[in-house]
Point group: C2
Chain length 225, copies 2
Amino acid sequence: MAPTSGQTPQLHAYVAVDVVLFTIDGGELGVLLVKVRDGAFTGRWAFPGSLVGVGESLEQVATRELRALTGVEDVYLEQLCTFGDPNRDPQARVVSTAYFGLAPAAGTPHRAPRYAEAAVFPIRRLPVPLAYDHEDMAVCAVDRLRSKLAYSNIVYGLLPVEFTLSELQEVYEIILGRHLDRRNFRKKILGTGLLKALTRQRRGAHRPATLYRFSRRRPTMVEML
Amino acid sequence: MAPTSGQTPQLHAYVAVDVVLFTIDGGELGVLLVKVRDGAFTGRWAFPGSLVGVGESLEQVATRELRALTGVEDVYLEQLCTFGDPNRDPQARVVSTAYFGLAPAAGTPHRAPRYAEAAVFPIRRLPVPLAYDHEDMAVCAVDRLRSKLAYSNIVYGLLPVEFTLSELQEVYEIILGRHLDRRNFRKKILGTGLLKALTRQRRGAHRPATLYRFSRRRPTMVEML
DNA sequence: CCAAAAGTGTTTAAACTACACCCATGA
DNA sequence: TCATGGGTGTAGTTTAAACACTTTTGG
């Protein structure tokens, strides 16, 4: 806590924040990766991250990073896990707190300052090995996302404001990796009372579908599945 | 990540680990607190913590801290959350990762080097205000404990190796803060197959009770309730 | 009129809840 | 023998899972 010493010499370390930004991309669950420009892992892909600035909170860093990369303002963000292994970055002692974020399909890999490249990769085909311990981070993030889908409404973060029930179901199926029964799904989801049917419909190639929106676009704990 | 700069000057911070050690004490859920010896919060109670040493991982720090405080070797430990608000410690920038631990009722507040005092407080009557942001930490830890009881066997960390079903049930009731039906509880718990009945019994003031132990004393995800 | 997605109920099985009595022991 | 906690089963209700046909539209 206060900088008094433990048994071993005390550490002054770099503190970083990395962001695992999920998005639905081409019918798959994708994450945003950037190509590392320098250091021991030059050329490998990694989750975008940034060192914490003086006076910045961890969440501010995550938000700042996301804005810079996607331009999107309103993303869901939650702290995930902190990685502090002494050798995770061979150049310096860097303790990194991972956040996970959700962005709607549309505008994801906007621009990537500070990085050679940025791209969304399907989570099932990551360009391994990733830099640092970012594969652990990926596992951790996917686990969290899967489990949290079932008992919260955070899926709104992956969808546009208005969507059809089929689209919603598709997102669930993509992330959970299994087929869901349409009738049971609708019963359950509508039963939460978190969705509001609009009068407008989505017209496409076939029968028009009712559009819905989440009545509250903020994290809420409910049994969704 | 690598120590390249963000928009704001990069930060070299202290990294600490704090441990929220739960134990069952006098029929209540208790946590181990220590009295802060110096700094802006002198005299207040806080969760025990330590700065990370050179070459130490976060988990090592948590383990070291727990050993020093309790002498107990085999405690359940899990990373909880990281607190990095710039002003959480007015003396220095300290980013702290909280762990939560579970120790069996017996030997808890062993010895407290480096601290003026150490004591177990019931979670419902903490000596507020705690130092730093440790009240947030407490809330976070209790939430995690409650939810994790329901779908994992980590409760083993709060019990001695051998225990009766009534003792197990009592732990659940204390932590969840509500009464559980004895018959349903036994059905559910025995249905997990994680308990092994011993031939020995606990003899007390009344009818002897069958002793059980967890067949695996390692974290396992199962529907316990 | 055909293809494709939207929409809708019922039946069955499993899980959860509530509930009351007898048993074994120590004092 | 009495007080105390240990141990057991069932009925009613709720929740989850499986399942197929009709509707609406665009092409």
